[in-house]
Symmetry: C2
Subunit: 265 residues, 2 copies
Amino acid sequence: MSAPLILISNDDGIQAPGLKALCEALQGLGDLVVMAPEIERSAMGHAITLSDPLRLTEVDLGLEGVTAHACSGTPADCVKLAVRAVLDRPPDLVVSGINHGSNTGVNVIYSGTVSAATEGTILGIPSLAISIDCRHCEDFGPARIIAGHIVRQVLAHGLPPGILLNVNIPDLPMDQFPAGNMDGTGYDLTDHGKADWQDDFDRRVDPHQRVYYWLSGRKREIKEASHIDEETVKAGRVSITPLHYDLTAYGFRDELRKWELFASS
Amino acid sequence: MSAPLILISNDDGIQAPGLKALCEALQGLGDLVVMAPEIERSAMGHAITLSDPLRLTEVDLGLEGVTAHACSGTPADCVKLAVRAVLDRPPDLVVSGINHGSNTGVNVIYSGTVSAATEGTILGIPSLAISIDCRHCEDFGPARIIAGHIVRQVLAHGLPPGILLNVNIPDLPMDQFPAGNMDGTGYDLTDHGKADWQDDFDRRVDPHQRVYYWLSGRKREIKEASHIDEETVKAGRVSITPLHYDLTAYGFRDELRKWELFASS
């Protein structure tokens, strides 16, 4: 039996330290192929490229047994292109990350990291996204161990069609993680929360006297239950959220059916 | 009491006939402000622009009482920028469309049209996306009537926090719609389906002997139940799907809890 083929992507770009850390975490678990954006493509959501060609460049990440391609497209493009045009067999797993910055609450909607895993799921491949709650991350040591544990579990159990995992790791030094995080029995199963942003736009004038706007803002502090993704990470625990992409708001159907729109109402 | 303020966006761009048709459909229902991408930004998913400035240009759409801005950003940027930096009061409604091409099944994930409405919902504003199942649409006559009916219902009822409507209209001439579609009591309440694409990439060589890939593919014909968005539109009926952006796969939690990851398992 051949080793599992693991496709690795991200949205921080092929040169991101988090991508390299993920490769290191997964060395030995299978054949690793990286297809990642050639530049940072954060907050791309589930964008795909229809109107432009995509190009590939081989990259040497300096990691034994890791083949890596930089792609001119979005994270979702990377996964689609790898699976449909580059890999010689379907991957057994898609892992996206390790993203610099948590993807909890409404960030999940904007995230290119999650969208790479969603694209894997759409293509029928067990997939997960892994993020760490820091902006300028320095120590990927604990995250490497945690990513390795969780990926082994996904390889062992598989995932049902249409379901992906969204993993968020707090930015703590090794000795501040609960012991369970290191032996793989101390994670929290969470729900996707509502943590969002207090958006703002800076209105500025460029050197040619033209007005422009630049998105700024900060995460809003909202209080959610302890089993919610954002709260879990804030409390220093590893959050694992099962996601799907059936967006039906089932709970609103009965109310909506009463509107004067539906013949049977 | 002042007239409702209705923000209109799309992903086909400010010059799209579907956008103009939507404005015409909503004239008289409130004060209309358009903020739409200056060029086509289809399949952008929920991308937002963090690393670049956004610019605005005033556009005269030749429609009385309609203020229109073209924005250099994505559909989600358009809605965020309008609400946070341009409009002098929060809009009462965000309407995105009328998209050229249906947004059913997995297209909902890729769609910039839906993401504009999702962004409105994230910002706490009742929002809906409207699409018509054609590529080169010529007759927006029925779609205008249908859009008007549905928007009046949303203005009357409002929408709960976190819920948006995704409307898909078949491309039929006026006399082939069931009468109910025209008096507003003949729509189908649907679920978000799984219709997806058989993706393919053309591998080509450019005039400088460099390889590039171009996404192609066609919609896969899958058989779904009649209350699914894609099947409904294919059957010539108007589909209204309530969507949310809580992506938690609640149905998989019990199974996932048995994995050797969770301390309480």
